[in-house]
């Protein structure tokens, strides 16, 4: 490919200067390596942002999930939609639906709350009044009303959520959890 001009003297790649040549080579590799590595490292670190950066924890606070008077006294589950502000990268969406949950009023006045996402693979779990159970239409996971699993399809019981009653209002800490694992791990 190279076609040196006819006037150029012959190339002298070897000879008594060989040790110096080795040193120059080393320097060339070093300088070139650093120059190349810096932008690659910066770009890679930036690309790794999703695992490098601590984000503000979403949904950390308690959300209002209605009034205790909305719940039937016999403990029948009621599905409730939760709204909150959502931050998606730079945008803040005000008062958006972030998910739905089941609420049950217990005889002692306590409120049980469950995330309605199936612990198996994340479909939404239905309440079946006839069978008095929660049932997932995707792979037939079934749960008792206290959230305990009725078959071995789901890896764990339904995910309960922290809930408290203040002046007749129900407040829930909404969280989503890793599906398909034995342990309940918030995500």
């Amino acid at each position: 490919m190279a076609n040196p001009s006819p006037e150029s003297p012959p190339v002298v790649p070897h000879g008594p200067v060989a040790p110096r040549r080795g040193f120059i080579s080393l320097l060339a590799v070093l300088a070139g390596g650093i120059a190349g590595l810096v932008p690659v490292a910066a770009g890679t670190l930036f690309f790794m942002d999703p695992i490098l950066r601590k984000r503000k924890e979403a949904g950390g606070g308690l959300l209002r999930a209605g009034d205790i008077s909305d719940l039937p006294t016999d403990g029948t589950p009621v599905r409730v939609v939760l709204k909150s502000d959502i931050v998606d990268a730079w945008t803040i969406y005000r008062d958006r639906v972030i998910g739905s949950i089941y609420l049950r009023l217990m005889p002692n006045g306590q409120v049980l709350a469950f995330n309605d996402t199936c612990t198996h693979l994340g479909c939404k779990v239905d309440y079946q009044p006839a069978e008095k159970q929660f049932f997932c239409p995707c792979h037939q996971s079934a749960f008792q009303l206290d959230g305990e699993r009725k078959n071995l399809t789901p890896p764990r019981n339904m995910d309960s959520l922290e809930a408290e009653v203040k002046d007749g209002e129900i407040w829930v800490k909404y969280q989503n959890f890793q599906t398909a694992t034995k342990e309940k791990k918030a995500i």
Binding site: P4, S5, A35, A42, D49
Partner: protein
């Protein structure tokens, strides 16, 4: 290992490729002046790497472009670093392009048989300029927006096809989503692809003819590319990178406020186009029309550059080319220097820049507060008293008042006068008080102890202004000045001021001293100072209902004696601006403009008053500075 490499070589022939790449002969030996080409290639690779990284987080639309760049710069891990490298490497590329070009022309490397490669280089130069122009707009900030508007308007001035060219570039007759999607597709897609293709051709043809050896090196022993020239090249790349990092760390890539078609910006092109900007400013050039200065002249110069290989066939032609290039570069340097010096001496331009910088800082504070609304970041500025207040002040108040000597937006108000037949600009005197300190402790102290100095500008307001300066409050102040400024009464004055300041319920004045407020109330009521008494007490003229109390302290003397209930607070100021001629304020004696809702909407009034009373968001640990 060796066996594996031999196997790979047998299947791919890579050793020959490496050998060809590294053992290219360098007749006359390795030299520093040959490094610019490699440095350009290096910066291009840096741009591809950092550009790809930025691409993963950039969102090209008018409501998300600035927002995503803000997010890259201020929120994402190492976003400032990647964007900084991309920003400054782009500028390094322009400098290297100039150096490379200079070296080629100076050494006559364009002459036969290298003419085609010279032209390939010119194509590469155009592509790099295209990348720079398209990239400048992508953050969709004020700076890029207005600078690029100039560029597309220049394209629009092209004879015959200008309008069509402009519309195609913009994606419509105005700037919008499609301007960004098109510029982005060009910047990240077509132009880098073309650059890669032409760079490959450029290197291929370069390798075919080899390096052009300058006279001084002819006859000296030859080298191969590896390792000495590679070391020189690598060192050059390392220095480039070091400079890019230095600027990233010390200056960081700029991001001005989000683009706003309704908001003025002191736009200048990037520094490497300043010469063209200045060239177009010459009256003789602007008289000829935009197309002349921005299209015909550059095209004519470019034609000469394209013809350089033909002109340079003779030795005299080569000298002409050198001279031409040096002359053009000198002109560019002079014009660039002129712009920088003129801008530095242009007070109004500097004030505009400083004010624009305030917006740039403010929007980052607002965006970091709890995110950017769906309609985009501009909405945050539009609804922010600290951003809009000064603008409203400039529009509605600054024809009479000043704010710390300027119009609210840091601009001095000037007027043209003719002196001995020469027109010159002098400051326009105010005709009403400077309101920077309005309602704070200094303000009230000054009004009480030196009324005439506070309202001195009223001297310029004609008879009605004079009437105020010779009015009752002015005489009261003169009568009591001695008592109020008596060191023995320092505490009494402080108490009276504290009481009056506390009435507005303002949050920007710090905490109030309850004891002083209580003492001040007594002085306000009875006029008794620590040493002596006031000629008449405040309640003799002014109405006052202390915040939180059921009954009024005083009803006042009626119209023309402004009420001090909630003085200088939000509600007081709103009511006052809406109708200063109301009996609660100046009554018949009013000389101030009435700001009814035709002149100032409710929203504007809120923004203005909230700014003046310090009622706007500040990040934790920040202090009020208007």
């Amino acid at each position: 290992m060796k066996a594996l490499l031999n196997w790979l070589d047998h299947r791919t022939g890579y050793k020959l490729l490496v050998h060809e790449a590294l053992n290219e002969p360098i007749p006359g030996g390795a030299r520093w002046r040959y490094i610019t080409g490699s440095m350009l290639t290096f910066t291009f690779i840096v741009q591809i790497i950092t550009g790809f990284a930025l691409w993963t987080a950039y969102s090209p639309s008018t409501q998300t472009a600035w927002e995503s760049v803000y997010y890259i710069q201020h929120q994402m891990s190492y976003g400032w670093l990647v964007r900084g490298i991309h920003h400054f490497a782009a500028q390094a590329m322009m400098i290297l392009l100039g150096l490379h070009f200079l070296q080629i022309v100076w050494d006559g490397a364009y002459r036969a048989p290298r003419e085609v490669n010279f032209w390939l280089g010119l194509v590469l130069m155009q592509i790099v300029i295209g990348l720079s122009l398209t990239g400048y707009l992508l953050p969709w900030d004020q700076k890029g927006y207005y600078a690029t508007k100039v560029a597309t308007n220049i394209a629009g001035s092209t004879p015959f096809i200008g309008q069509q060219v402009q519309q195609i570039a913009q994606g419509g007759s105005a700037y919008g989503h499609h301007t960004l999607t098109r510029f982005f597709a060009l910047h990240a897609g077509l132009l880098p692809a073309l650059l890669t293709v032409f760079l490959a051709l450029h290197v291929y043809v370069f390798r075919r003819h080899g390096i052009t050896v300058p006279h001084s090196a002819q006859g000296k022993p030859a080298d191969t590319f590896w390792p000495k020239q590679v070391l020189y090249d690598a060192a050059g790349c390392l220095v480039t990178l070091a400079l890019v990092l230095y600027f990233t760390l010390t200056r960081s890539a700029e991001l001005s406020a989000p683009a706003d078609a309704g908001e003025d910006f002191p736009a200048r092109p990037e520094w490497y186009f300043l010469f063209l900007f200045r060239f177009l400013e010459f009256p003789a050039i602007s008289k000829m029309g935009v197309a002349f200065g921005a299209i015909y002249v550059p095209t004519a110069l470019m034609i000469i550059v394209v013809l350089m290989p033909l002109i340079g066939k003779s030795q005299w032609g080569h000298y002409f080319n050198r001279l031409f290039l040096v002359a053009v570069l000198a002109a560019v340097a002079v014009l660039t220097g002129m712009t920088i010096i003129e801008d530095n001496h242009n007070e109004s331009h500097q004030a505009k820049l400083a004010f624009a910088e305030r917006d740039a800082h403010r929007i980052v504070v607002l965006a970091a507060r709890d995110g950017i609304p769906q309609n985009g970041a501009r909405e945050l500025l539009v609804n922010d008293p600290l951003t809009q207040g000064p603008r409203l002040f400039a529009r509605h108040c600054s024809s009479c008042h000043r704010f710390d000597g300027h119009d609210g937006t840091l601009q001095k108000i000037m007027k043209t006068v003719e002196e001995n037949g020469v027109k010159k600009l002098i400051p326009e005197p105010a005709t009403a008080a400077d309101l920077k300190d309005f309602g704070n402790r200094e303000w009230i102290t000054r009004v009480l102890t030196d009324y005439d100095a506070t309202f001195k500008p009223l001297e310029n307001a004609g008879e009605k202004g004079q009437a105020i300066l010779t009015g009752e409050m002015s005489s009261w102040c003169k009568d009591n000045q001695k008592a109020l400024t008596d060191p023995a009464n320092a505490e009494s004055l402080k108490a009276l001021v504290e009481f009056l300041t506390s009435q507005g319920g303002r949050s920007d004045l710090g905490a109030f001293d309850e004891k002083l407020v209580a003492d001040g109330k007594e002085i306000f009521k009875g006029g008794t100072l620590k040493s002596g008494t006031l000629s008449s007490s405040c309640v003799d003229c002014h109405a006052m209902k202390v915040a939180g109390e059921r009954t009024s302290l005083s009803e006042g003397a009626g119209a023309g004696y402004p009420t001090l209930t909630g003085y200088a607070g939000r509600d007081w100021l709103k009511a006052f601006l809406r109708n200063p001629a109301h009996p609660d304020f100046y009554g018949d004696k009013n000389t101030m403009m009435v700001f009814d809702d035709k002149r100032l909407s409710e929203k504007e009034l809120d923004l203005l008053v909230n700014w003046m009373t310090g009622d706007y968001y500040l990040p934790p640990n920040a202090h009020h500075t208007k």
